[in-house]
């Protein structure tokens, strides 16, 4: 019995047999991808880092550029997943065309990045949601304890402990099984969406004057300044923030922050084997998520800029992040804090903050699951220790893989919080984008190098400009992923390329290769030839 073998077609006679059922629809795929994109996270990070690091960048155009590039990448992955409609992500694709060492390396790099994403999300829950929420509550209620909690949360050890607890919670939830996780996730998604709608409504109904008046009233006395809004802007400029006008290069660089969460729009490659009408569903699922997230960001960011002001957002975050002695808000000027000040409502503050926290939370188990599935697949192929694939008899979940990935998550959290080398937020994402690029680049040649597999693809008969559709789609994806690899590479605020960072990226690739060859040697000593796991059994 299977969920993915045969779909009912015209001019086909079907018999009574198990498996003639439909699977995930395009809408299901869309919801899955949109959940991983995390609309709230995109809003939070764009408004926090964008104006601060890229004073002449245009956030709205940045969102659009990222959306277009991610759509191109999606085209490539749609071609891959339509041709090989199996669950498991790029490991499945890579193992069909690349040398085994390279396929495993690409997968390892990708998994490292996604697990790093988990740590980033846990960090942001503390920095962009919880700490600002307590700070806003302190300002609104006059209760010093809230401010003290907020300040404590921003201490490295406190951030690490809370983040680690969140990451371990993800492991605990996954160990109870996908059903438990999905039921929980359903409510998380609904509440997160509701909070986003609430934020949009609040911003749409508010004015700059209202925000300035409230900020001055709530923050002014504590700072001893009558007009902190303009004082923060002036302080930021004095400390070196800002240039006049809009700059294309800065606009491209700021788009890195929109691209970061948009990566989630292609995550349905991880569940490719469970999707019906795979071509239509994956197309709608991936591109729908890209378009929806991009439009939601443009609307929300436009309204936020109207209410808070680009200069204020930029200088407040700039002073908080980079300028010693610069005037800023009592805690990090995340959109959650600013919304609390804007509304002067503890209830809306809590709802908006928890909404952001929930959006960020959605990343964690989703990407944690991605990592778990991949390393279980490695264990099946004997390129990872067999116990990793061990299934819990109680919950039927790969408990060892979940624990291993949870430990890696916590290590990443520690590296992120305590080490300056890993504090460039998307450094490993740069590596993952490169891994995607390799797989998409390989896809350009797949129809020629693996014709016996490609001929089974529903797009095998379609050609664009005389070339196989997969070749063209993967070329677009390759261009899109290369574009963002180099944008990240050249952006010192997002990822960059200083020697330490480059060594980290190179080190992850080397680690992948070393891991493969060590496992290969170990298996060889056991009489196992792991390369056979990547080879196709001859049919003649």
């Amino acid at each position: 019995m299977s969920i993915s073998d045969v779909t009912v077609e015209k001019r086909i006679f079907l018999r009574k047999a198990s498996g003639l059922i439909r699977t995930a629809s395009g809408t299901d795929t869309f919801i899955y991808n949109l959940g991983v994109v995390s609309i709230g996270l995109g809003v939070g990070s764009m408004l926090f880092y964008g104006p601060a690091f890229y004073p002449t960048g245009n956030l709205l155009w940045g969102c659009l550029v990222a959306g277009i590039a991610m759509a191109m990448i999606s085209f490539g992955f749609i071609a891959w997943t339509v041709t090989i409609p199996r669950s498991g992500g790029i490991y499945v694709f890579g193992s069909r065309i690349l040398p085994p060492a390279l396929a495993l390396t690409m997968s390892l790099v990708e998994i490292f990045a996604w697990l790093f994403y988990c740590a980033i999300a846990a960090y942001w829950i503390v920095i962009l949601a919880l700490a600002p929420m307590f700070s806003a509550l302190g300002l609104l209620t006059g209760n010093e304890s809230f401010l003290a909690i907020s300040t404590w949360m921003l201490q490295p050890w406190a951030t690490f402990l809370i983040g680690a607890a969140i990451l371990i919670l993800s492991g605990v939830i996954l160990s109870f099984g996908m059903r438990f996780y999905l039921v929980l996730n359903k409510w998380v998604f609904i509440l997160a969406m509701a909070s986003t709608v609430l934020l949009i409504v609040v911003l749409a109904m508010s004015t700059r004057e209202q925000f300035v008046a409230n900020l001055n009233e709530l923050v002014g006395p504590a700072m001893g300044i009558a007009d902190p809004y303009n004082a923060i802007i002036a302080s930021g400029k004095e400390k070196g923030w800002g240039e006049a006008g809009t700059n294309l290069w800065q606009t491209l660089l700021v788009s890195n922050w929109a691209f970061l969460p948009l990566i989630g729009a292609a995550f349905s490659i991880a569940i490719g084997g469970e999707i019906k009408s795979v071509e239509k569903s994956q197309t709608w699922g991936m591109l729908g998520a890209v378009v929806t997230a991009t439009v939601a960001w443009i609307v929300t960011i436009y309204l936020a800029l109207k209410v808070f002001g680009f200069e204020f957002l930029g200088t407040a975050a700039f002073n908080f992040l980079m300028a010693d002695g610069g005037l800023t808000t009592p805690t990090d000027p995340a959109v959650t804090l600013l919304t609390g000040i804007l509304t002067k409502s503890p209830v809306i503050t809590i709802l908006a903050s928890l909404g952001f926290a929930l959006w960020m939370w959605m990343w964690i188990p989703a990407m944690h699951t991605f990592g778990v599935r991949a390393i279980v697949a490695w264990a099946f192929d004997r390129v990872a220790p067999a116990p990793i694939a061990k299934i819990s008899e109680t919950y039927h979940t790969p408990i060892v893989a979940i624990v291993v990935t949870a430990i890696v998550n916590v290590i990443f959290m520690a590296l992120f919080v305590f080490s300056p080398y890993f504090s460039k937020i998307v450094i490993l994402i740069e590596a993952a984008v490169l891994a995607w690029s390799v797989i998409l680049g390989a896809g350009i040649f797949f129809p020629y190098l693996r014709p016996q597999i490609y001929e089974k693809s529903p797009i095998s008969n379609r050609r664009i400009f005389g070339l196989p559709m997969m070749t063209v789609a993967c070329f677009l994806g390759f261009v899109g992923s290369q574009f963002y690899f180099w944008l990240l590479f050249l952006d010192p605020s997002a990822a960059g390329h200083d020697p330490t960072q480059v060594m980290i990226v190179v080190g992850v690739f080397v680690l992948g290769l070393a891991f493969y060859y060590v496992m290969k040697m170990i298996r060889k000593s056991q009489g196992v030839d792991v390369t056979l796991a990547f080879k196709e059994i001859p049919i003649e």
Binding site: E9, R382, R523
Partner: protein
């Protein structure tokens, strides 16, 4: 030892390759036969559901072209070369093809009984082809091939496979197995939403095992080749269906349920055979332990032409190694 190709010793050492649910895929069956040489296996074990699920009519038109369907789209085949290629491609995907005049297609479309007759004819033809292929490929080797029927397999295949050379087809029997082991053969499945060919209630499974278990002389050296997996395990985890046989989703992910046999689970827990080989649930690819018993479902992705299997080495009355493969 996994994937090795060295000679086995005589201490009950047997390397077997197990696959299931090929569902008519020619390419998967060819790979299955060749997997013995590829992985260095002594015995090939097939876990049922050999037969496919769909016939694709290829209707000849008045102008000499052929109209058929593939991947949900209308396909026009203009030359006989295209026709041969299309038939081969469908066979690899597990489909049966039937070339006929357009008028015959129209007649069959309106006559479910005639469709059933055609279906059975094509299924049995392919089973005969596979039996002949196995005989051809395995002749002169010491590799044996054993198989059971799955819930989707017509009863008529039993006679064909039972009489086929190099194809040891058993149902409801306990037989000797290489290396001094025994294999218990039990095909079919518990009831499915599709009311397929060979379904048995849990009560019937109680009776079936009551018939089989006394024939096992040493449970610690017995291999269960039982198509249905044990209930409530990773091996029988599959998507939950609603009344319209549609998968139930939550947040874009299929809700999981279990579709195995409670009686089988009880038997394994109580009697602890050495090894359990199962199929039926294509999504249930896993290796687990139920007490001391190693239980495996290799899963199936036959429409992609990829053969999923399990390579198992038995030695000294134990499962020395067991690994999932795909190739």
């Amino acid at each position: 030892m996994f994937f090795g190709k060295k000679n086995k010793d005589a201490n009950g050492k047997v390397k077997l390759f197990f696959a299931s649910d090929l569902h008519g895929s020619n390419v998967c069956f060819k790979k299955f036969i060749n997997s013995a040489k590829f992985y260095g296996a002594d015995v090939l074990v097939l876990g049922g559901d050999l037969t496919g699920k769909a016939v694709i009519p290829i209707a000849e038109q008045a102008d000499g072209t052929f109209i058929t369907f593939h991947h949900g789209e209308s396909v026009t085949l203009k030359a006989h070369g295209d026709l041969d290629e299309f038939i081969k491609r469908c066979g690899n995907l597990g489909f049966y093809t039937a070339v006929m005049p357009e008028s015959e297609y129209v007649r069959l479309k309106a006559d479910p009984d005639a469709q059933s007759v055609l279906f059975k004819k094509l299924v049995l033809e392919r089973v005969r082809e596979w039996a002949a292929l196995a005989a051809d490929k395995l002749e002169g080797t010491e590799i044996s091939l054993v198989a059971i029927p799955g819930n989707d397999d017509f009863h008529e295949i039993d006679a064909i496979l039972t009489s086929a050379p190099h194809f040891d087809f058993y149902e409801m029997q306990v037989c000797k197995f290489k290396g001094g082991y025994q294999m218990l053969y039990c095909g079919g499945s518990t009831p499915t939403p599709w009311n397929t060919e060979r379904e048995y209630s849990e009560d019937q499974y109680v009776a079936r095992f009551a018939e089989l278990l006394p024939q096992v002389t040493d449970m610690s050296r017995c291999i269960f080749n039982v198509h249905v997996p044990p209930l409530g395990t990773a091996l029988d985890t599959c998507p939950k269906l609603d009344r319209n046989l549609q998968v139930v989703y939550e947040m874009g992910m299929p809700v999981q349920t279990h579709a195995g046999s409670q009686k089988l689970l009880d038997v394994i827990k109580q009697h602890q055979p050495m090894l359990g080989l199962h199929g039926h649930i294509h999504e249930g690819r896993a290796r687990i332990n139920i007490g001391k018993t190693v239980c495996i479902n290799p899963g199936s992705v036959y429409p992609e032409g990829i053969l999923q299997g399990a390579l198992i080495t038995l030695q000294g009355g134990t499962v020395a190694s067991a690994s999932l493969t795909q190739g």
